[in-house]
């Protein structure tokens, strides 16, 4: 029951997190961040 509740909580969290990731992605892309371009970072797209 508790697990089910936690799973349900993750639905809005996942939705918000993925949308925030799009904003953060633009920020890192516009900065040309070293981390972003690092090969290790690009490996599992």
């Amino acid at each position: 029951m508790r697990n089910m509740f936690l799973k349900l909580l993750l639905v809005p969290f996942t939705f918000v997190a993925m949308n925030w990731a799009a904003v953060a992605g633009l920020y890192y892309f516009s900065r040309g961040s070293r981390d972003l371009w690092s090969p290790a970072g690009a490996r599992h797209s």
Partner: protein, 352 residues
């Protein structure tokens, strides 16, 4: 003014997540183009790019040897990108078993590693794989069967996320991933998928052109080049790769940021994708890839405009938004607690 912004923002968000899938449903009913799949055995080069993957070398290469495909028609290439652990030594142990190794002494990135791997590929079909996902035994056979259809330039397999019990994940991220795969299936039925699954996708070798250094999303750039060249990129759910979903929400989130940053890079690198007269899947690309980049700003506009409209239906909308974001905050707090929640945002899932 606030009302107009509210409805435009709501309309855009609803289109991306609900309207577009409905459009695809109607579209494929009207104009479905099935792939004329036929089992045959062309030569295949399986290219795996690795950096520091010491824990995955043995299971991955063992998995390659167990595939249901004639060994004399399957060239396995591991392209090493200057590993600093003992990945290279582990891979070289397999050199005597038919695995071809190409190794860069300088850390150049995944794109360059793929370029180096494909440079020594001799197969008619090049199959790309990551080191962490295991192929189903029939995956290669199923995937290459799509190339019997001359209109197909690339074929993407399906990545199945598993939980620790080996069952397909049933959490939020798993549900999102299934939604995503549903979209891909419909897009494939109409013409092409705007991107492949990095863990398992194949192309005709003659359609490969070296990737620019620093390319983040090889699994989108390569397929979209193929679409621009006039060929189809199809999704085949019978060609499967499996991955145990990671529970580390932070690392997954970081990866997600890179994936979405890759979408911005894609538009800069390939402006032709924004030209409907050149991009045959312009609607799909805009709706699926760019729409996801637009939604967060729509959500902000929706919230801010709603602040100026606190009456009637708009008040209900405001309460709904407040509840939604409160739950999201609670989910975030819960996800930061140990032990890990049963499934935070996961690797390949969000906004693929």
């Amino acid at each position: 003014m606030a009302e107009a912004i509210f409805w435009i923002a709501l309309g855009c968000t609803a289109y991306v997540y609900a309207g577009y899938p409905l459009l695809l449903l109607a579209w494929q009913w009207w104009d479905r183009r099935p792939v004329r799949k036929q089992y045959h055995e062309p030569s295949v080069s399986l290219v795996i790019a690795m950096h520091n993957e010491r824990n995955h070398v043995q299971p991955k290469l063992q998995n390659c040897f167990e595939l249901d495909y004639p060994p004399d028609k399957l060239q396995v290439i591991v392209s090493l990108d200057a590993p600093t652990d003992d990945t290279e030594a582990l891979v070289r142990e397999y050199a005597g078993k038919g695995v071809e190794v190409v190794c860069s002494s300088v850390h150049l990135g995944k794109a360059e590693a793929l370029n180096s791997g494909v440079a020594i590929a001799t197969g008619e079909i090049v199959l790309f794989a990551d080191s962490r996902q295991m192929f189903d035994k029939r995956a290669v056979r199923e995937l290459v069967a799509n190339f019997a259809d001359a209109s197909v330039g690339a074929a993407s397999g399906e990545l199945v996320l598993l939980d620790e019990q080996g069952k397909e994940t049933s959490d939020a991220a798993g549900a999102y991933w299934r939604y995503e795969k549903g979209l891909r299936g419909m897009e494939s039925g109409i013409h092409s998928v705007p991107g492949a699954t990095g863990a398992i996708y194949a192309i005709r070798r003659e359609l490969f052109a070296p990737l620019a250094a620093g390319t983040i999303l090889d699994d989108v750039v390569i397929p979209m080049r193929i679409v621009l060249a006039g060929k189809r990129v199809v999704f085949d759910s019978t060609a499967r790769a499996y991955e145990v979903a990671s529970r580390n929400a932070n690392s997954e989130y970081e990866r997600k940021i890179r994936t979405l940053a890759g979408n911005y890079q894609l538009v800069v690198q390939m402006p032709a994708l924004l030209a409907p007269w050149r991009n045959r899947i312009f609607v799909q690309f805009i709706s699926h890839k760019l729409g996801r980049l637009l939604v967060p700003y729509c959500l902000v506009a929706l919230f801010v405009s709603n602040l100026f409209l606190l009456h009637g239906l708009y008040l209900v909308a405001m309460v709904g938004q407040m509840v939604w974001y409160s739950l999201a905050g609670a989910g975030w707090l819960a996800s930061t607690r140990k032990p890990a929640l049963p499934g935070g945002p996961s690797t390949e899932t969000l906004n693929e």
